[in-house]
Structures are given as C-alpha cells and as structure tokens.
C-alpha cells in the first residue's frame, strides 16, 4: 500500500514531507453517494452526455490533467448550468464545481487535480431543464519512487 511505503521511508529519514496524508473515511463509497446526492438534491442521476477525460494510469497523483465535456446545445433554452467533479478516496469528496450558462458556447472545462490513491471519479452536469447527467472514470495512481528531504 502506497501510504505504508512512504511511512516506512519517512521513518528512516525522520521526515514525511510531501506526502498527502490519506485520512480515508470509514465508508468512502457511501460518502461519494452522499456527495452526489447533495449536488443532485435527490434528482435522478443519468449516465451519458458527459465525458470525463482522464488518464487511466497516472504516474504522479499530484498533478493529473482532466477534461469534462458535456454535450449540450448551450442555448438560452437548453444549456449546462453547472459541472461538478467528485472523487472516491481523497480526504474530501469535492474536487471542483463550475458554473456555466448559455454564454459559454461550449461546455468544456479542463483543470489539473490531485489524486491521493487509485479510485473512481464522477463528473456530473446539471442542465437548465433540471436533469442531471454523469460519467465516471476509474484511475490507477502510482507514486514516485523516492521520498525527499527539502
């Protein structure tokens, strides 16, 4: 397990700088469901229209590029209101929440995120008609070899 490897090396050097301390909640998957419900306020979550682009195998969980693309005409009558990205095993579920609107033209957002461990990510789009659409991605995160002292 990646955390124990770092802790072992950390014990030798006397420092554990640079580690993301993983405070994993007791029921990570339940928490994720709760976070999803909080965003959808209980409305049904449908699969589709959302594409969550992220590498399936990540070399370093510190800086992971992701892109969320939502298929939508982005007109005043029919557009994406918000996009949120949630995770399964980081210390907290939220990653980023974006507010869009018809002036966006295209519902495409990119950023770089941190992943503390191999886990599932969920991207949810809230549409102007009140519907919620989603995509998920499973990511394997490997870590760099050496723990450093500054």
């Amino acid at each position: 397990m990646t955390v124990s490897r770092r802790t072992l090396l950390g014990a030798v050097t006397g420092a554990a700088v640079g580690t993301l301390v993983v405070v994993r909640p007791a029921h990570a998957a339940d928490d994720l469901q709760a976070a999803i419900k909080a965003f959808t306020t209980g409305a049904p979550l449908q699969r589709g229209r959302v594409k969550l682009d992220i590498a399936p195998l990540v070399e370093n969980g510190n800086t992971v590029p992701i892109t969320v693309h939502v298929t939508s005409p982005m007109t005043p009558a029919d557009h994406v209101l918000a996009i949120t990205v949630l995770n399964e095993k980081n210390p907290q579920r939220d990653v980023i929440t974006c507010r869009l609107g018809p002036r966006a033209g295209r519902a495409d957002v990119s950023t770089r995120i941190r992943l503390a461990n191999s886990q599932q990510l969920v991207a949810i789009a809230q549409m102007s008609d009140g519907s919620f659409w989603s995509d998920t991605a499973d990511v394997i995160v490997t870590l760099a070899a050496c723990v450093e002292t500054p």
Partner: protein
Amino acid sequence: MARALITMPATAKRGEIVEIRTLIAHPMETGYRAGDDGQLLPRNILRRFSCRYDGEQVFSAELFPAVAANPYLTFCTIATVSGTLEFTWEGDRGFAQTERVALTVAA
C-alpha cells in the same frame, strides 16, 4: 500579487467560441499534509475563480484542495462585443487578484 498567465485570442469574430486558458501561481496547500515536525500544515487554497465579460459573469468555479498547485483552468465563452475580460481569483488568507485582458470582436 501572484504570477498569472492567461492565454486567449486577442481578436475573435462575433459569435465565435473562444477558449480561455488560465494559470496562476499558488501552492494550494491542502490542509491534509504534515510538515517536518509532524504537524498538519494549515489549509491555504484558492477557493473561487470567476470571469466577467460584457457586464456579467460568464464562468465561475469553486476550487477545493483537490485542485493541483498552480491551478490551471480552461473554459469557453462566446465573443459578443469588444471589451475587457476580468479574471478574479479569491482564496484563503484574504487572497484576491484580478487580471484583465482585452478582446477585440469583429463583426
């Protein structure tokens, strides 16, 4: 004042979708990391980003500790009129910074 880099076209045709790419220097200290002494380093992150153009907010984002250091954020907006786009980042410890970029929109 943190260093910020905004990449977007200088000109666009009216109605054209322009892609805006932003990058700002910030450690995004999560609050979950321990320092050399074993004590948790306090959280220090950017929490909010917004873009105002032609009189209204056209994009905003709420950032959490899971956003990587030196946040990179890209989004799109429709070129409407010539004007100045305002990009604002706000965060912990009273962080507030606005960058302005002009966009010339041809008919």
